[in-house]
C-alpha cells in the first residue's frame, strides 16, 4: 500500500511549534479524497494542511498526466475533530488543469471550527469506472 503522502501539519501559532494532523481516519491522500468515478488522468498528488490564525488551511496539488486539458470539479467538506460536519456542503468548483500541469489549489476553511476535511473530486472526461460506474451523468456535479 502506498505510504502516507500527506504532510499534514498544524502550526500552533501561539507556541510557534507544529504538531502532526490528526485526521478522523488517518492521513493518507486516499482517505481524504473521495472520487466520484475513477479519474484516469487527474490525480491528487500532494496534500498539505496547516493551522494558522486558528484557521485550517489546505493545499493540494492536482497532476494531469494527459497532454490534453482536463476539467476538474472539486469541493471540500469541513469537519470537526470527531468527523462531524461543521459547515454546509460547499459549491462544486470548476478548475481547468492544463495538459501535463501540476496545479496547486489552496483553500482556507470557512469556519474556525474546522479541524479536519474531506475533498471530493470529479472529472467528467475521466469517469469511466469506479464507485459510480456507468452513471457518470448522475454522479457529475455538472449541470
Amino acid at each position: 500500500m502506498k505510504r502516507l503522502a500527506v504532510i499534514a501539519v498544524f502550526g500552533l501559532a501561539c507556541l510557534g511549534g507544529v504538531a502532526p494532523a490528526q485526521g478522523a481516519d488517518g492521513g493518507t491522500i486516499a482517505s481524504k479524497v473521495g472520487e466520484l468515478g475513477r479519474m484516469e488522468y487527474l490525480k491528487v498528488s500532494d496534500m498539505k494542511a496547516v493551522r494558522r490564525d486558528n484557521l485550517l488551511r489546505v493545499q493540494i496539488t492536482v497532476t494531469n498526466s494527459s497532454s490534453d486539458n482536463q476539467q476538474l470539479y472539486y469541493r471540500f467538506l469541513w469537519l470537526d475533530s470527531d468527523g462531524f460536519s461543521v459547515w454546509n456542503e460547499g459549491p462544486w468548483k470548476p478548475e481547468i488543469i492544463y495538459g501535463k500541469q501540476d496545479k496547486i489549489i489552496s483553500v482556507t476553511a470557512p469556519t474556525f471550527k474546522a479541524a479536519d476535511f474531506k475533498l471530493e473530486v470529479q472529472s467528467p472526461n475521466n469517469s469511466t469506472s469506479g464507485p459510480h460506474s456507468g452513471s457518470t451523468a448522475d454522479s457529475s456535479p455538472y449541470r
Partner: protein
Amino acid sequence: MKSCRILLAPALLSLSLSACVTTSPTTEGSGGVSYGDSNAVETVTTDLGSTDIQTTSETMTQSLLQTPVLQDIIRKRGLLMASPVENKTSEYFDTKLITDTVLSQLQKNGVRYVIAGDEMQNQVDELRRQNQSGLYKKSSTAKVGNMQGAQYRLDGSVSSIIKKAANIKDVYYKINMRLIEIESGVVEWSDEKEIRKTLRR
C-alpha cells in the same frame, strides 16, 4: 346473488383506490419538475449564476476571516455593516446575494453586523410602532436612540468585459470587495475574484 354484487362493489372500489396510493412523499405533476443539487456547477449561460455567487462568497469569506482586522472585530465584538455589492455589468443580476451570503457566513463565525440600507426602513417602522402607536406597554417597548453604529463597512462591485466574435462569446467578471473603517475611511482589507466564462457556438 344480487346482494353479493352489492357487497362486492364497495370492496372492489376501495381496493382500486388503495392501489393508487404511493409510499413516496411526492406530488408529481406532468411537467417533469425535479429537484437538483443547489451546489452543482451551473453553466446554463455566460451570465453570472449560482456557482459564481457561491464560489465568490466563499472566497471572500475565507479571505476576510484570515484578516487580523476581522479577527479583532470578532474578539472585541465590534460591529460591521454592509452596503450591497454594486452591479456595474450590463446584465441584470441581484448582486446583493453576494453581500447577504458573505454576511451570513461571517455571522456563523461570530461577526456581529447591523442592518442598513433597504432594511433600515423596517427597523424604523417597528420602533415607531412600538413608541408612537400607544399599543404597547411602556416598560416593554424598545427605546428610540439606542441603535448601535458600525465601525466597519463592507462594500464591493461586480464589473465585466464582454467580447464577442462570430462563433465565440467570452465574458470576464471581476468581483471586488472591501472592508472600510467608517470613521477614518481607511480600506483595511480588499480582495477580488476573477471569473471567465466562454460560450462556443
